[in-house]
Every structure is written in structure tokens, then in C-alpha cells.
């Protein structure tokens, strides 16, 4: 009885410590966002003055929406958001389809050299994007494209130059392969016996039970695409195709417009946070509801 009580007491102590640590971590992650949002309502001088005290995190002083008004005046913010939404969402959707199909071929189908191909794909993890950026630039600046004006050479200054190079993704394929390999192969065999084709199996058997990995890959593709910076500044010279992260640079002038920067960041971050909170719920639900039935 005494041992149980002592164990229970220690358990409570650890629980308190754990919650304290989690709260501390939560504060560390939450405060920068709080600072950003709060500062977006303050004038530049007040933001700088408040940084030395806790006032930096409090909505005190001279508050207004002026920074938001000026952020939208200084840069075509709505255009940048639209561009990023378009580029990101198309890349995510096409990425889910292409990479899951590739993973299906690499994990469910059986063919010669499958392992070698998968190894080569995984090996590309070690090549950072910066290494291939220039060869890729030279390639896309000469590739043909069929548009309203017929065939044109060069993909620069377009949406597709920001999308197509990022659809196929080795890490996404790897995640899909790992997940598909964990599925009972009996499901596939049963479908084959019932006369299902490979595409039918992919569509009707594999996709419905793969909610978690689809949600995970969607999140992992969305974030880097939303934060794209290096590639757009290399391939997009026209303002109407610029994404949000390039747009952020509009506010770094000789005298930096801190309030407008915070307003711009809040504008482009808050919708993403909201979206991710929604997706997180779907992610958890998909895990709970996609149990394999024998």
C-alpha cells in the first residue's frame, strides 16, 4: 500500500515536471507568433522601444490597423498570397498523386530492378536543392511549353516553372513506400483474385486505407512550397508570378518598415496556421478511421 502511494506521488511529480516542460516549450514556440501579431498593430518606433520589455508581447500603446493598410499598399500582397496558394495547392495535389503512384509501383508491384530504383531515389536525399538549382535553371530556361501562343521555349516567369520541378519528391515517395509496405499484402492478393486491375487496386484498396500518409505528405509538401524563396527569385522576374516569401523583401528598405513586416507576416502566416490546425484534425481522424479490416 505504502509502495503504491510513493509510486503515485512520484508519478504526480513527474507529471507536473512534464507539464511544466511542455508549457515552457509551448511558450517558446508561441511567443514569437504572439510578438509578430501584437507588433503588427504598433508603430515602428514603439515596436523597437518595446523589444526590451514584456510590452513587446502585449497589445498596449498606440494600436491600429495602419500597418496592414500600408502593407497592402506597399506590395501587391493579395497577388502574392494568391500566387503562393495556387502554386502550393497544385504542387501538393499533383505531388500526392504522382508520388503515391510511384510508391505503389515500387512497393506493391513486383518487377526487376525495383530495389535499385528505390535505392537511387532514396540516394537523392543527400543532394541539397542548392546543388541542382543552377542546372535546373539552365534546363527550365530552354524547355518548350505549349501555351495559348503555341509552343514557346523557356519556362521562366510562369506558374508551371514553380510547380513542375517540385511535384516528384523522393522523400514523399519514401514515406508512401514505407506506409504501403506496412499494409497487409493479402488485401492486394484478394483484390487480384477478384479480378481487380492494378489501378483499381491503387484507387479502391490502397488510397482509402492510406489517409495518414496522404495527410503527412500533404503537410510536408505544403510547408516548403509555401516558404519557397530561392527558386522563385531565380526563375521569376515578373511581379505577377511572385510568391509570398519573395514579397516579404519589399519591406526591407533602407529604413526597415518593421510594423508592415509584422503585418505582412501575420497576414501570410495566420491563414496557414488556421489551415494546418484544420488539417491536423483531419490527420488525427484519418489515423483513427483508417484501420485495416481483416
Amino acid at each position: 500500500m505504502t509502495v503504491k502511494r510513493v509510486k503515485g506521488r512520484w508519478h504526480n511529480v513527474f507529471l507536473v515536471i512534464r507539464y511544466l516542460l511542455m508549457t515552457l516549450l509551448g511558450v517558446v514556440f508561441f511567443f514569437p507568433i504572439l510578438f509578430m501579431v501584437v507588433s503588427s498593430f504598433k508603430p515602428d518606433l514603439q515596436i523597437l522601444q518595446d523589444t526590451s520589455s514584456l510590452r513587446a508581447f502585449l497589445p498596449v500603446g498606440e494600436l491600429s490597423f495602419q500597418n496592414y493598410v500600408e502593407a497592402f499598399e506597399r506590395a501587391p500582397t493579395e497577388r502574392f498570397i494568391l500566387n503562393s496558394l495556387l502554386v502550393t495547392s497544385i504542387t501538393v495535389i499533383l505531388g500526392l498523386v504522382v508520388n503515391s503512384m510511384a510508391a505503389f509501383a515500387l512497393s506493391i508491384l513486383r518487377w526487376r530492378g525495383q530495389g535499385v530504383v528505390l535505392s537511387i531515389i532514396i540516394a537523392t536525399f543527400i543532394v541539397p536543392f542548392e546543388t541542382i538549382a543552377i542546372p535546373l535553371l539552365l534546363l527550365v530556361s530552354r524547355l518548350p511549353w505549349i501555351g495559348a501562343d503555341g509552343i514557346v521555349f523557356g519556362w521562366l516567369n510562369s506558374y508551371h516553372v514553380q510547380i513542375i520541378p517540385f511535384i516528384a519528391n523522393a522523400f514523399s515517395i519514401f514515406l508512401f513506400v514505407q506506409f504501403f509496405k506496412s499494409l497487409p499484402f493479402e488485401l492486394v492478393e484478394a483484390a487480384r483474385i477478384d479480378g481487380a486491375g492494378w489501378f483499381q487496386i491503387y484507387r479502391r484498396i490502397i488510397i482509402p486505407v492510406s489517409g495518414p500518409v496522404f495527410a503527412t505528405v500533404a503537410i510536408l509538401t505544403f510547408l516548403p512550397m509555401w516558404n519557397q524563396y530561392l527558386w522563385p527569385i531565380m526563375v521569376v522576374q515578373q511581379e505577377e508570378y511572385r510568391p509570398v516569401m519573395v514579397g516579404l523583401q519589399y519591406f526591407f528598405q533602407l529604413n526597415v518598415a518593421w510594423g508592415e513586416i509584422m503585418a505582412y507576416l501575420s497576414t501570410i502566416t495566420v491563414p496557414v496556421l488556421v489551415l494546418f490546425l484544420a488539417l491536423q484534425r483531419a490527420f488525427i481522424e484519418s489515423i483513427a478511421s483508417s484501420g485495416i479490416k481483416g
Partner: protein, 461 residues
């Protein structure tokens, strides 16, 4: 499930089509951006409007389009002035039409280099002065072909020369000075230096010690350590040069040996380190906010800052505000020079038009407009006389003289961008207590290795 799948497929097709259309049909709302730069012509379908470019004398109905890239996206004032110049130029003749595409400054250089690699440079490029030799050496730029005397009276820092040729010209320059308050200097019996008689090293050091020991300020001097990047070589290499050292041996541009690690440079390095050791200046961990407001709030007695930041303290302190010349550390007082400048791309098929535009843009009235708009120093004395700040008796007049008398351009070599990064790191390391001689030797080795790896950057015999 089936319906959902078909909907998904339909959506995908629609989105891909949308992307395809977006790529080939720029919005009519942005006509300036639709024009493909001339350099792209060999790899893209020719633009109908560019066809007359082949003829020697285009008709009035078909002016040739000249593309201009500019670094000032997000700066409405600057953009408005440049657009006005473009509009004036376009309506002043019927041979050329300039169309501007602006870029954010922070990513501008990367965009230019990428465009050069992709064969997509515009006709007219603007560039930061010290970067010009690198771009000229890399084959991005063609020498300017302006009328004789077009650059007469220009500040030396506003003319971009490399390899004996002029590649760029700036509509303004920038200068750095010591911000101070007359009342503070008088209170502590510190002599107010002049352009003719700047502070000597000993005087400067004594002034800093006096101000620091007064207890009235957190630091005697704010150097702006929070402003990393180009600020370090721009603002601090003149100290080194005034000591008698340099970032590179300017007689050959082939080595930094002796210039950056010679006795004068080591003396500079030790003095530089002592500023931090004696607690006279904030260190590399300086808060950016303090840099912005420290002098205004009275935390710093003096501040090393540029003319672009001069108006707020002038408004706050009025007649008490002073802009003092750089100290003379033994080889004359020095400050940095060369700001943003215009040049013509080497791949432009209409260099005559591009030169015509640049010559049009450097009229005094436009130099004055830029100065009034964004506070920078106009490139000529006559333009300065037309401005509110730099005219004789104007509150910032001193900056024009500082720029004229003390300015030394950063080393005009294609190796400068790499050298600048190495110099910045060395200065930060020394400020943080690194051994001066070892750090400068290491910086020399790095600079020399870069020069060698690039075949001497065109300076090799």
C-alpha cells in the same frame, strides 16, 4: 467514391490548364512585365513588337521596347520618381519605350545572376556600385557610351569604372559621418572636428574615453554592429584604409598580402578590438532596435551612420545635431562611396537606346528629385543646389562635401563580393576577441585563394 475520384481528376486537369495558361499569358494589367528582354530572343519565339528592332531606323509607330530592371520594389517614392523619368523619356522621343520591372533589393543580385545564366538579362540594369566590376568581368555589362562631358561634375563615387572603362553611373551617392550633438561635445570640452581638421586617432580615442567615463551614456559610440552584411566593408574598411591598410593591394588587385595583414592593418585590428575591450562600443550582439533608436534615446553619445538616416535625429535635435567627418588615423580621413548605379547589359540588342535613357536620367532635375524623395546625396553639385537638404546652407550639405573630399570607393575588382564577406567575418571575429594577426592572415589566405581560383579576375598578365 467514384464520383469523388472523377471530381478530383477533373479538378487536377482544370488546375494544370490554369497553370499552363498562366504561364503563357501574362496579365494585361502589367504591360511592362509582358515584354521578353532582348537577350531572351534566341531561345524564345520573337515578340511581334520586337521585329522592327532589326531595322536601323524604326518607324514612329513602332518604338523599340527597352527593358529596365530596378532594385527598389516596395519603395513607393523611389518607384514613382523612376516611373516619372521613364515617362518623360518615353514621351521625349519616339524611338524607344522603356519598361520597368522592379525587384526587392534583398534578392536583386541573385535574380540578376540567375537571369544572366538563363540568358534573360534586360537592356538596362541597375546595380550596387561595388558589385559592378564583378558583373562587368562576368560579361553581364557593356561599357557605357555616353556623350562627352555627360559625367562632368559627378561625384567620383557615382561613376562606376573598371578596367579603364565606365560601366555604370549613379543618380546619387551615400556618405557616412559621425552623428553627434554639439551640446554633448561642448559639455565635455571635446573639440568639434571639421572637414579641414578632422579628429586625429588620439583625439578620437580621448573623446570616446571621456564620453564613456562620463557615465551619461551606455556607450560612447555606436558603430552599427547590428547591421551585418555590406555595412561592415562599407562603413569599417575606411578606418582600415585611414590606418594605411586596405582589403587588397590596389596596385595589382592580385593579393591582399601586405594590405590586409601588414603592420598598418594589424595596428587597425588592434585598435578595432580595443574599442570592444574598453567597452566603448556595443559588440556584435547589438540589438537591431538599439541601433535604430539608441542615439535618439541618448544611449549612445556618438553614432557612425549614413546620410539616409540623418533626418530623424535632425528633427529631434535640430541645430544641436552635428554630422562630423571621419577621423584621420594617419593616412587621411576616409569614408565609403558608390551606391546604386545604372548600366547597360552586354546582351542588350539596343545599347544605343539604353545609353540614351541613362544619359536622359542623369539630368540634374532628376538627381534632385531622387535626393528630395529618398534623402540621398545628388551626384552633382549643381543638382545638390536644387535640393532642400543638400543645397548651400541645407541641413545635410555637409554630406556632399564629405562624399567629395573623403570618399574612397571599395576595391573596384570582380573579387569584391567574396572579399567583402571575408572582411566582414574577420572584423566580427576580431571584435569578439580573436587573435588579430592570425585572423587577418587567415582572411588574406582566403582572399588570395579566391583570386587565384578565378584566374586573377582579369588582372593577371
Amino acid at each position: 467514391m467514384k464520383t469523388r475520384l472523377y471530381t478530383l481528376v477533373f479538378l487536377l486537369i482544370a488546375l494544370v490548364l490554369l497553370a499552363a495558361c498562366g504561364g503563357s499569358q501574362p496579365e494585361p494589367a502589367a504591360p511592362a512585365a509582358q515584354e521578353k528582354p532582348a537577350a531572351e530572343a534566341p531561345t524564345t519565339a520573337p515578340e511581334p513588337t520586337e521585329a522592327p528592332a532589326q531595322s536601323a531606323e524604326p518607324s514612329k509607330a513602332d518604338p523599340i521596347k527597352l527593358s529596365l530592371w530596378y532594385h527598389g520594389a516596395g519603395n513607393e517614392t523611389e518607384r514613382a520618381i523612376l516611373l516619372q523619368i521613364i515617362e518623360d523619356f518615353n514621351s521625349s522621343q519616339d524611338q524607344w519605350v522603356v519598361e520597368m520591372q522592379d525587384f526587392p533589393q534583398a534578392s536583386y543580385n541573385e535574380s540578376i545572376v540567375a537571369a544572366a545564366l538563363a540568358g534573360n538579362l534586360p537592356d538596362i540594369i541597375d546595380m550596387d556600385g561595388p558589385v559592378m566590376p564583378n558583373w562587368a568581368w562576368s560579361g553581364y555589362l557593356a561599357p557605357l557610351e555616353l556623350s562627352e562631358g555627360a559625367l562632368d561634375g559627378f561625384l567620383p563615387g557615382a561613376i562606376g569604372k573598371w578596367d579603364g572603362k565606365v560601366y555604370s553611373v549613379g543618380l546619387w551617392d551615400a556618405a557616412v559621418a559621425i552623428y553627434a550633438r554639439r551640446s554633448v561635445l561642448e559639455k565635455y570640452n571635446i573639440r568639434i572636428p571639421t572637414l579641414d581638421k578632422p579628429w586625429t586617432k588620439d583625439e578620437f580615442d580621448a573623446a570616446l574615453e571621456t564620453l564613456q567615463n562620463s557615465g551619461e551614456f551606455e556607450y560612447a559610440l555606436d558603430l552599427g554592429m547590428a547591421w551585418t552584411g555590406e555595412w561592415y566593408p562599407y562603413a569599417f574598411s575606411p578606418f582600415l584604409q585611414s590606418f594605411g591598410g586596405d582589403m587588397i593591394d590596389r596596385s595589382t588587385f592580385l593579393t591582399a598580402e601586405g594590405a590586409l595583414n601588414g603592420p598598418e592593418a594589424i595596428e587597425f585590428g588592434k585598435w578595432w578590438q580595443s574599442l570592444f575591450e574598453r567597452g566603448l562600443v556595443p559588440g556584435t550582439s547589438q540589438d537591431g532596435a538599439d541601433r535604430e533608436t539608441g542615439f535618439l534615446e541618448g544611449k549612445y553619445a556618438l553614432q557612425w551612420n549614413g546620410n539616409w538616416a540623418a533626418l530623424p535625429p535632425l528633427e529631434k535635435y535640430g541645430d544641436d545635431m552635428l554630422f562630423l567627418p571621419a577621423p584621420d588615423f594617419g593616412h587621411g580621413p576616409k569614408i565609403g562611396a558608390a551606391s546604386w548605379q545604372f548600366g547597360v547589359s552586354a546582351t542588350s540588342q539596343h545599347k544605343d537606346g539604353a545609353n540614351a535613357f541613362i544619359e536622359f536620367a542623369i539630368q540634374d532635375k532628376y538627381l534632385a528629385a531622387f535626393s528630395d524623395g529618398i534623402g540621398l546625396i545628388p551626384s552633382t553639385r549643381s543638382a545638390a543646389a536644387m535640393t532642400k537638404n543638400y543645397a548651400p546652407g541645407g541641413p545635410l550639405e555637409v554630406f556632399f562635401d564629405l562624399s567629395k573630399e573623403q570618399a574612397l570607393i571599395r576595391p573596384p575588382t570582380p573579387g569584391y563580393p567574396t572579399m567583402a564577406l571575408i572582411f566582414e567575418k574577420a572584423l566580427a571575429d576580431i571584435a569578439n576577441g580573436a587573435d588579430v594577426e592570425a585572423t587577418l592572415d587567415a582572411a588574406v589566405d582566403e582572399i588570395d585563394a579566391d583570386i587565384e581560383a578565378n584566374g586573377g579576375y582579369g588582372f593577371q598578365d
